[in-house]
Amino acid sequence: MNCDSAKSRIFPYVDGELVPAQRDEMDAHLSGCGSCRRFVEQELHFRDAYVSRLRPDPAPAHLRESVDRLLAGFTGGTITRRRPRYRRVVLAAVAVVLVGAGAALGIGLSSMLQRGNLLAELTEASVDQHQKLASGLLPPDLVDASPKTAEAWFRRRLDFNVNVPELKHTNLTLLGARISHLANVEVAALEYQVDQNNVSLFVIPEEAYKRLGLSEKPKFKMLHHRGYDVIIWRQHGSGYALVSEIGRRSCLVCHSPDEKLDVPLESLATPKRRTDT
């Protein structure tokens, strides 16, 4: 066996996929060839250090729930439940008809309600995700990372700009980061601790944020929902939602303690979520 031939078999060799005769041939070549042996050692190191640690990304919570619902209908030898997809199609058709009817009537009311509903949905989803992050139900994919590392991590996974603020306060810790979903929108989720209080920051694509139809001023909007404070704003081409139980103190995630916030927070009444359409 020559070196070209040996190099062409390195991958099946380290994968344990060579038949015994080929493996013996390879072993014999490696025992006398330092150059090829170096390739094999490098490949084994690469595998041990990195490849062996690769795992499939965890399925998102909403998918697990929908699969659970589907599987629950698999009883005995039959499928007893209607496929959820059909229900979604029917709901989508109803939504299309409703939107079409509203447009035909020339009434802006439906879009106003829709915007209010979107804001309620975002608020509810932010609080829900915050609770899951804080309780460990949604484990971070990236832990003990610096803001810059987290930013680079998101850049490789999301197609919108994610700015992760520098840590400007000694009692502020970035616990972890993960990709999350708020009302079916893929967002960057960052989990912090501020003076032992859990704070979640969600970075939302600008396009999704714009659909909320919020006015530009005042810049920061605060909502209170289920005992949590949710601050929403837009900056650097992204939307942000900050969830905590500590109100304005959660702003330490982005601002240093001695930094004066000259922009007042506007408290908004949390719109009721409409679930009847």
């Binding site: 190099k7 991958f11 690769l54 499939p56 990304d57 399925a59 929908s66 699969v67 599987l71």
Partner: protein, 194 residues
């Protein structure tokens, strides 16, 4: 003649799926076009899988069996839409080429494979950058840890095709991981102590 213990088919199928849902989800997400269809693709595949569960050989990996169903479901969906599943930049005829072909020479010397600090993330991101046909095989082998034979069955191609795609995919991945040497001539090597 062996007799299998009477098990509730639904409960058994559910247990299998729950044991590998992350993998099934990832594979559906890899294949689905448009990408947002992957949840529908997964649900359709699970229904098909359950309907054909009697034919599943319990001696084989369930995950690999379901991957084959996901792939076939995906192809059927695309055919219905009169679209091609995969724009295949690799001619399958190449798979019959011998492993000794110079086409397979490894392009990188070991000392050229240099990684940044977030190496594991670099590897993940690099795999995502691979062309679909290579990425599929690299993921099935390096993340799902399936054998060449299982992968060949899933993609319905000879083992030689699996080997050639894997070879090209891994080599391409390594070219992504090469870090340009720093101005001072220093570079960060793979940190084996991780």
């Amino acid at each position: 003649m062996g007799v299998r213990a009477p098990l509730d088919k639904g409960a058994e199928f559910q247990a299998y799926v729950r044991g590998c849902l992350d993998s099934l989800h990832n594979y559906a997400r890899l294949l689905a076009r448009p990408r947002e269809d992957h949840e529908d693709l997964l649900q359709d595949s699970l229904i098909r899988g359950f309907q054909g569960f009697d034919s599943f050989d319990r001696a084989l990996p369930f995950k690999a069996w379901m991957f084959g169903i996901i792939r076939n479901t995906c192809i059927d969906r695309h055919r219905r839409r009169k679209m091609r599943l995969l724009e295949d930049p690799l001619d399958d005829d190449q798979s019959s080429a011998g492993l000794d072909s110079p086409l397979y020479s490894i392009p990188l010397a070991p000392e050229d494979i240099l990684l940044r600090e977030e190496a594991i993330e670099e590897v993940r991101a690099g795999i995502r950058r691979l062309p679909l046909l290579m990425r599929e095989v690299v993921e099935l082998r390096d993340i799902e840890e399936l054998s060449y034979r299982d992968i060949a069955a899933i993609i319905d191609r000879p083992i030689g095709t699996v080997m050639s795609r894997l070879y090209r995919g891994r080599n391409l991945l390594r070219t992504y991981l090469v870090e340009p040497r720093r101005q001072d001539g220093q570079a960060t090597r793979i940190r084996h102590e991780l």
